[in-house]
Structures are given as structure tokens and as C-alpha cells.
Symmetry: C2
Subunit: 343 residues, 2 copies
DNA sequence: TTGTAAGCGTTATCAC
DNA sequence: GTGATAACGCTTACAA
């Protein structure tokens, strides 16, 4: 039950003894265009304020076929990486006069589908989605049928939908290089959701860096099942049991890093003395771990902001922007979780 | 621009050579009530599916004066505490057929006001809000004017709006007692947003526990300015400079704890050897700090869930529930950040 | 410079 | 069992 409509445009008009047309025009900023007298304009504005009138969004939407609302779907809001992106999206949307509907897919493609349908039936004007990343047909179909979309974080190769991601390849390359420069050779790359594009790109960056040092890396790329603490823990645990141990871990996201930390602690090893660690994605707590962690920072603020900009462009121009795929730069934050083996 | 209305109810009806009334009835599950024939019912359902028809939510909203949408407002989505509450709210809303609009007030009461107005004009059926916590008139006014509200986390004393919070008093009492039992006497209580109710309640719990041990606590209650890392850092830094130092810190939320950690590291002190620490609010990373942190866990999942339940009750019954204020139990998670001084 | 009225797509009321 | 139609509140051609 919503607030009882204190006032509608008709009442307001009759109170002022003018037509609803005039009221509507003034309130939509078209007073000038229709050469409405200053006096009338002022009267309308004053009355609207006085009676706390604001147009009914259902009626408006029905007529104009738009809701001034965007939908956002992420796989896991409780992951601060996505939470920050959502925050940035909300902020930028607000600045542009849009509200945002939120949806959490829980890393589940079916739920993601349901959410998309739901949002469309709710008449969102466009959708920013960080997909689960396994399949994209459902997204593509909707996009082709005319729903504006922007994809964030988890791309799909060959999908012609505007996409904003971190420079995953570059970030991973930098991370691995940093380890190599500290004379690590046995660097284990702990994956999250193997099939997802950020994961693939990060592995590619890792691999290329390793090859540039002529180091074979095949056995060091460790399969994960998803971007979660549990997955990271399981893989790290497995590796730490084996001999010889890797000298360093490259965690492919923040949750994987947390899982590794757990395994390392369990084996009573310490960082960086016994094992070095670098993680993709900086978090608020990264610096405050007892051994502050070296990370690859992603600019979540920027990712969210650009996503909304691109989406609005798409909605307005109803045509696509030239720059379809955008990479946001990452940054290496050196802290104390990496030991130089030659020292 | 939303999807072109592939089909509307009129088209669907004419395709089937029946009236819109019948179609509407079937699709709203009123086939039985109006004794519509099995055959017709099936035809309608099949056709709806075939043409991908779903009712226009603007028209529906206009007619029924409801949106099946809830609004959620939090002070800081990037704080995982709120992110998890939002996640839970989204989940529970979805389960009950509601969408959720999200708003981030950025710990700013003006923004909070704007968001509330915005949501109301968007015709949300109700609002769950974790207010900034400084003032509540704007909320109360809207509530009294008929908008269903549920407040979460940051209460206001004497405000008769359904509220769900953690048992802040009890949690803080337990935390402090735990420190006392480990023979700490100089326990600094590092506040966040002093004026906010959770802060006040936690201080009350702290104070009562201290008094039960006959320990004067006045100078040990440290003023903060907000629930942020910076605030925690600043206060801890100040304390560590002074002599004699407290032997333990009680951080009034997760961000404050992070700030304390930063200060402690800066002074090259270690936990728990040099200083003990307990934090209100458990986080995913709490256990993975090199010194796993002892915390008071809050049941965010439950808080969000109950909030939505209460809100829906309020919307449905249009009357208030007997149980206006609800406390969700907290739990002490003992880890290694506290040293027993007698050992 | 202002007004009249049609129409957006749905549901509820009344009629048969 | 089913149907015609008014009404929800707004914007916008078209008129004046």
C-alpha cells in the first residue's frame, strides 16, 4: 500500500483554475517552450510545493514507457568487490536521475535469468550486470530484443555487448612479474571460477609472465571451482601438503586469498617467511592483516561509474557507442607479503 | 526505453476471441473464483506463454496502487555489515514476490531524506532503513503519513516504528566480561558514531560490565566521530601514544577494529602479546588475520530476514504488530586476539 | 498563451 | 461462465 495520493495533477489544476496541460508543462520544465507566463509558472510551482504534489510514476511510466530505473545484478553482494561496484553504480545513477533495482544472483545462472526477466517486467530502462559468467545466451537474447545492457567484470568473448572490466591480463602479468623479480619460480596460480573470463585472462597474464622468464607453469595452475574462500582453502591446502611446496601463491581474487590465508595458518606457516602471497583485488582489510598483503588494486568506483555512463548513452542514443570494450587500469600495491628469495 | 510491448492483454484476448476480463482473471489466479472453464483457462495460459506476455507493471500499479517493490536504505553499502543485510533483504523480498530498490545515504541525513522522498515518489510499498542515526523526524513524519517502515540497526529511543537490531547491550556486555575474565582492567572502549543508538547501547553494556567488576571506566570510553577506519585509527593512535597504555581495546564495530589494527601495526606492537583486541561484528576476514580476531558476531542474515517479514506484515495488515522492537542475539567468537594477563 | 480530450494497459464493477 | 466498460493519473496532439 503506497501513500494515499494527496493530490493529483487534476486537483492541482482545478485549485489554480487552469488546465492540467499547463500544470504538466510547467512541472516538466516546458514552460518556456510553450511560452507560459511567468506568473502562471510561479503559481504552479508554488502550489505544487505547497500541496506536496509529485507526479504519479505509474501514470507517467504508462504514458512514456520508461521508469527512470536501472537494474543491477551481481553474483554476490556480500563480496565487498561487488558491494563497492554497486555503491558506485547507485551513486552515478542517482546523479543522473535514475533509481536502481538490485538483484543478487548468488552465482547461479538460473537465478540470474529470473532476475533479468523480473527486471524487464518491472520495466527497467536498462541493466548493468556482473554475470555469473558461465553462459550468456539469455543476456544476448534480451539485448538483441532491445533491452540496453552493460556487462561488468565477467565478460564473454565474442559477445557484442558493451563491457567494462579491469585490465585482468595486465594486472595478472604485473603481479606475476613482481613475484618473478623477487626471484620466485615456483609460483602457484590459484584459480576461482575457471571458465569465467576474468579468471581466464588472469591466467593468461600469469602464463605470459612465466614464459617471459622461461619457466614452465603447467602444473602450477591450480583448478578452482568458484570464487570463494572454500575453493581457495581447498586448493592451497592440497598444495601445502605436497612436496616440494611452491614458494609463492598468486590468488586470483580476494576470497581465494582469504582461503589461502586460512590454509597457511593451519599449516603454521607464516607469510612471507615460509610462503609469499599476492592477491588480485585490494580490500579495505588488505593493509591491516598482520602481514599487510601485496595486491592488485581494481578501480571499482571507476568501473561502476563508466558502466552507468555507457548504459545511459545506450538508452539515450538507442545506438551503440564505438568503444565497446573498456579496460580499467589496475595498480600494484606493494606491501609485505612477498619475500625476495635472493636476499 | 523499455522493451516494445510485444503483446498486451487486449491483443491476447482478441487472438483467443475472448474478453480481456477473462484473460485478466485467469492470469491473476481467479479462474476458480469466477468459475471459468478449464478449457478456457488452459488456452489463456498457453497463449500467454507462447506470446511471452506479461502484464504491464505501470498499468497494474496505476490501477492497484502498489508496486510490489520495497526500498532499502543503508548508510554505507561498502561496509560488509550492511552489504550482508542488503543481501538478506533482497533474498527474502524475492521469496515474497517483491523487488528492491537500493539507496546509499553515505552516512548523510540529507541524502537519506532525499532517498526516502524519491522512493515514495517511486511508489515503493514499504521501506527498510538503516538510518544514519542522528535524527528521525523525517522518517517519523513519513511513517505517520502511512508509509510502512522498518528500521534496522540504528534505532531511535522512543520512536514507535518497528525496529530490528542486534542485542547491542548484551553483546557488548559479553565482550567486556570476556576481557575482564582474562584479567584486563584497563579496557579502552573505542566508539564510532557516539550519538547513534547501537553505539550508546554498546557503551552501556561495556559500562555495566566494568561496574560489575568495580572498575572505574570514565576515562576509558573514547570518543569517535563515525563508524570508519579513520576514526578508529585516530583514537587508537592517540591512546597508544599515551602512558600507561590500556591493555585491551574494545572496538565498537568492524571498521573501528580495522583502524585500531592499523595503529597497532604502526607502533610495531603485536596482538595479543602487547595489546588485546575484541571487535563488535564478525567479518569474513576476522578469522584469517594473522592473529585471528575475537569478535561479537551479529546475525545479519536474520536481521534482514525479520525486517522484511515485519515490513510485509505491516503492509498487509495495515496495522502494527505487537512486537515492535526486536533484538537478534549475538555470539562471542573466541579466537586468539586476547591474552590472559594472569598466565 | 492555454485548454480539451484521447490513450497508455490493467483491473473491478456491474450486467447478462 | 463470460463480457463491456469505467477508472487509475499522466502526457501530448490538436484546437482555439
Amino acid at each position: 500500500m503506497t501513500q494515499k495520493p494527496t493530490t493529483n495533477i487534476r486537483e492541482l489544476a482545478s485549485k489554480l483554475n487552469i488546465s492540467v496541460t499547463t500544470v504538466s508543462r510547467v512541472l516538466n520544465g516546458k514552460a518556456r517552450q510553450y511560452r507560459i507566463s511567468r506568473k502562471t509558472e510561479k503559481e504552479v510551482r508554488d502550489a505544487a510545493r505547497e500541496f506536496g504534489y509529485f507526479p504519479n510514476q505509474f501514470a507517467r511510466g504508462l504514458k512514456l514507457d520508461k521508469s527512470d530505473t536501472l537494474g543491477v545484478i551481481v553474483p554476490d553482494i556480500s563480496n565487498p568487490f561487488f558491494a563497492e561496484i554497486v555503491m558506485s553504480i547507485e551513486q552515478e545513477s542517482k546523479n543522473n536521475g535514475y533509481s536502481v533495482l538490485i538483484g543478487n544472483s548468488g552465482e547461479d545462472t538460473d537465478q540470474e535469468k529470473t532476475l533479468i526477466n523480473h527486471f524487464i517486467s518491472k520495466k527497467v530502462d536498462g541493466i548493468v550486470i556482473a554475470p555469473v559468467g558461465i553462459s550468456s545466451e539469455h543476456i544476448e537474447r534480451r539485448f538483441l530484443s532491445g533491452i540496453p545492457f552493460v556487462i561488468v567484470d565477467r565478460t564473454f568473448p565474442g559477445l557484442n555487448i558493451p563491457t567494462i572490466t579491469s585490465d585482468n591480463y595486465g594486472g595478472a602479468y604485473t603481479a606475476t612479474l613482481h613475484l618473478l623479480e623477487n626471484n620466485h619460480h615456483k609460483i602457484a596460480c590459484i584459480q576461482g571460477l575457471n571458465e569465467s573470463q576474468p579468471n581466464i585472462e588472469r591466467v593468461r597474464g600469469y602464463t605470459d609472465a612465466m614464459r617471459s622468464y622461461n619457466i614452465p607453469e603447467e602444473d602450477l595452475i591450480i583448478t578452482g571451482d568458484r570464487f570463494s574462500i572454500e575453493s581457495g582453502y581447498k586448493q592451497a591446502h592440497q598444495l601445502l601438503k605436497g612436496k616440494p611446496r611452491p614458494t609463492a601463491f598468486f590468488a586470483l581474487n580476494n576470497l581465494i586469498a582469504l582461503g589461502i590465508l586460512r590454509a597457511v595458518t593451519e599449516f603454521s606457516l607464516s607469510i612471507p617467511e615460509d610462503i609469499s602471497l599476492i592477491s588480485f583485488d585490494e580490500q579495505t582489510y588488505s593493509a591491516f592483516l598482520n602481514t599487510p598483503m601485496t595486491t592488485i588494486e581494481q578501480n571499482k568506483q571507476e568501473i561502476g561509474k563508466i558502466a552507468v555512463e555507457k548504459l545511459i548513452m545506450q538508452m539515450d542514443k538507442k545506438e551503440m557507442d564505438s568503444q565497446l570494450f573498456l579496460h580499467v587500469q589496475t595498480k600494484l600495491l606493494k606491501r609485505q607479503s612477498i619475500k625476495n628469495l635472493k636476499e
